[in-house]
């Protein structure tokens, strides 16, 4: 079977596979967001804090996304790096209500942006929990994280509600377009 699939893929007929890294501080809603992207019946009712990481795949726009949902807890953040190497896109989830830790998010983000393995990959930001009153808007978040200083890589930021899925799909649409427009290696 492997051979046949590979044959199809060589002709551009099989689904393209893309590895996506989902990062962000703990409790920002990464796992909830990913849960949203699963087919309805595969969704879990309760999302618990991730220990280490979790891997999920979903099909969107003819692309097979393999998402590595990393734990955002402090002690695991140093382990993100082990998964940078073959990531073709990064989804960075910001808790738009957690203003206190916005600077922590900024620090972590800067480390990633500087990393050579991630120089060329597109970054998608979600300003999550947008349903909560008094949360920051996507623009406020972008400013706080100084996103406009990224000149050499594609990025985008969207407000989202991971519980209802609002804004989530649009982000993935954008990501799919970025991947398709880029010449495959």
């Amino acid at each position: 079977m492997g051979l046949f699939r590979r044959f199809l893929r060589a002709l551009g007929l099989g689904p393209e596979k893309v590895g996506v890294l989902i990062v962000g501080l703990d409790n920002s809603g990464k796992s909830t967001l990913l849960n949203r992207l699963r087919p309805k019946k595969a969704r879990t009712a309760d999302v618990v804090p991730t220990i280490g990481f979790q891997v999920e795949s979903f099909l969107k726009h003819g692309i097979q996304f393999t998402a590595f949902d990393m734990s955002g807890a402090g002690r695991y953040r140093s382990l993100w790096e082990a998964y940078f190497k073959d990531a073709q896109a990064v989804i960075f989830v910001i808790d738009a209500t957690d203003l206190v830790r916005m600077c922590v998010a900024k620090d972590e983000l800067e480390l990633m942006l500087r990393h050579p393995d991630l120089r060329k990959v597109p970054f998608l930001f979600y300003a999550n929990k947008s349903d909560v009153p008094k949360c920051w808007t996507a623009l406020q978040c972008a400013q706080a994280l100084q996103l406009d200083e990224n000149k050499d890589k594609p990025w985008n930021i969207l407000a989202s509600n991971a519980l209802t899925g609002e804004g989530v799909e649009e982000g993935i649409d954008w990501l799919a377009e970025m991947i398709k427009s880029k010449p495959t290696n």
């Binding site: 893929r9 220990i51 280490g52 990481f53 979790q54 891997v55 998964y83 190497k85 073959d86 073709q88």
Partner: protein, 893 residues
Amino acid sequence: MALVNPRDKKDEDRDDETEYSPFFGIEKGAVLQEARVFNDPQLDTRRCQQVITKLLYLLNQGESFTKTEATEVFFATTKLFQSKDIALRRMVYLMIKEITPSADEVIIVTSSLMKDMNSKTDLYRANAIRVLCRIIDGGLLGQIERYLKQAVVDKNPIVASAALVSGIHLLKNNPEIVKRWSNEVQEAVNSKAPLVQFHALALLHQIRQNDRLAVSKLVTSLTRGNVRSPLAQCLLIRYTVQVIHEASGISSSGGERPFYEFLEGCLRHKAEMVIFEAARAITQLEGVTSRELTPAITVLQLFLSSSKPVLRFAAVRTLNKVAMTHPLAVTNCNIDMESLISDQNRSIATLAITTLLKTGNESSVDRLMKQITNFMSDIADEFKITVVEAIRSLCLKFPQKYRTLMNFLSNILREEGGFEYKKAIVDSILILIREIPDAKESGLSHLCEFIEDCEFTYLSTQILHLLGNEGPKTADPSKYIRYIYNRVILENATVRASAVSALAKFGAMVDFLQPRIMVLLRRCLHDNDDEVRDRATLYLQVLGDTKDIAPDGAAAFLSETLNVPLANLEASLKAYEPSEKPFNIAAVSKEAKPLTIAEKKKEKKAQREAAATGAHANGVAPAVSTSSYENLLNAIPEFASIGKLFKSSKPVQLTEEETEYAVNVVKHTYPAHVVFQFNATNTIQEQLLENVEVVMDTSLADEFEEVASIPLKSLPYGSPGQTFVLLAKPEGAVALGKFGNVLKFKVKEVDPASGEPDEEGYEDEYALEDVEVTIGDYIQRTSVSNFRNSWEALDPGLEKVDEYGLGPRESLQEAVKAVINTLGMQPVEGTDQVPSNARSHTALLAGTFIGNVPVLARLSFGIDAQKQVAMKLAVRSEDESVSELIQDIIASS
């Protein structure tokens, strides 16, 4: 470099398929490169599986991965969780278990595993549980405990087993959590799935293992019910044995042993595994009786002729052990065992041989030896050593067979073999020469032949030393000279030097050889090795090139050992500056010097190790042979004129175990004296003892009189020392008595930091247990080569016979052993072993009474249904009064 692809190879020539491991020659570097496929977004699951297999192969071959390599492989492997391929996932689990990176890295797979643990695929669940429990820490364990507990009673046996096995592992660090699963585990013990039952029983036992009563209850209930799984049944047998063992201390009723019936029932189980386990358990029961043993031996005997090698091996190995304690119980199997000598499997054959050697009687020795000779050439050295050791003990048991056995030893000595093997043979010959006087001459000539063609310097020098000591005392000493001198011509410097020393001893002890020896020694003066020339020069001087030394002085000089600790001599020699003043050996300290702190630590460790092996209990020096005692005693001037040492007793403890000062005594019997050698060990690190002596109270033993007491100057912590008391008694008399003893000394406190003792000390004393001089101290154990001949050579008219009731005894064997111990004589012809179901027995003993009077004893025992033992003792010796004394020993004890 062209790497052979093992798969291609396979297709090309199928014939060779079995010869090559598919992984033959794979390299770590190349495999790590290959492992990059784990990162490929388009995963090739088959390839990934192969790479993991190779990595696991490397790890199992002992290949080590650097920290970075391990981390990289680990993280790459975790990416494979994206694949849904079941076979690949299984390899991923294995890989994570094997590679285990650092604790904070491994945690990264926790969520993935927890997801798998709740998956619908049983295989995922089972394996995820095993891996998770391996990597998880106590904190997270609480989170998944609920799942594990459920998994224990899962309807899928693989899942249940995984949870149970994990429980066994977790019990080490998180016992309180696992103990909460008791009910579930109990339920799993009743599972229909054999594996689950097995694992559940193991876990349940471990949970309860510290609670004797609970274990006993568990065993009681399960031995009644029916355990399906043979493996579980085997475990149950082991646990039962534990319970029996622990109970044996409590109830000592003469009735049926608890649970024996269960064990015996297991001998009829349909699984061979269970039958064997039960048979082995029975043979290992404490104080097993012959009646209990019989059914077990019967099934083992059946296994001996099984077509399955593993059963034959298991049976013969067990019987081999039984033969050590109950040789007669095994004799029934001798015929089956003999046919195993030609078994394809050499381990089985070796065990069969050594068992036969242990159980065989005198008449079968010759036949056995013939069979062994054919077999020796095709077993490995380590097996050969086992055989040689068995033959050595056989020879000591049947001394009159020494010719056959000595011949055998000399034959195998001439064949090919490694050092350890050759050493075992030479050691055996040395022991036989020492123990069996008749064997001496033939043994020596075998050794002479051996050194003509011996490639091991160590063995050559050892043999040359022996030849030097023993050769001059033989009937025809001159025949050894040629062999020894050949060494001077043919061998390396070390051997040449030993040969020179050996020659000199002949020159010193055999007058008529002296001129010839002098000629040979003079030739050695031209040797190109310093040591050889030095020795030759020295010996020529000693033997009379100069006339300063009395002729018998030469012999004494050559055969005596230096009476100073070698370490002290070495230190003094190093300190000696060449000058007009000659080195004075008398000035070298004879006392073992206190250890430095670093050495003490080492010493302590050594002691602990020795204590662990039981060789050196209580820090007291191990039993020493009479000849080394002789050297020690001869070094003490006060004992110079008391004559020749007759017997040294075994050490007798005079203190309880684990006390501040450990003291034992060795009694040395001389014609008109007894020397008491007190071996003392100071076990208090903060104390240095000085002027240590034992004060003996002779008031209750009027035949004895104190002549001298030799105190010990200092007794530092941890290194044993000796103090002596010399008592005189009437010459030749068998004086008996009991003495009270007090250890007296001066204590100086030692500063633990510097190791320096205080200036000031204080006197102290310490009461020891009494020591007694018994008739046993006047009898040596000696062996005779033919008891019957020796017995008949003694005048029957001087025989003393008496009968004794020994009262109720545990067994005949126990009674025989006790009497032999009391008499302190040597059992001959293996008669100290009682056939397991015998009602009567005859034991033959030999000894030499002080004054060099040989004495022989025949003991006939009988036991009745009430276990009352009666004994008839017949004693013969040239001296009637000696025979009477032997009777007195029994009469008075």
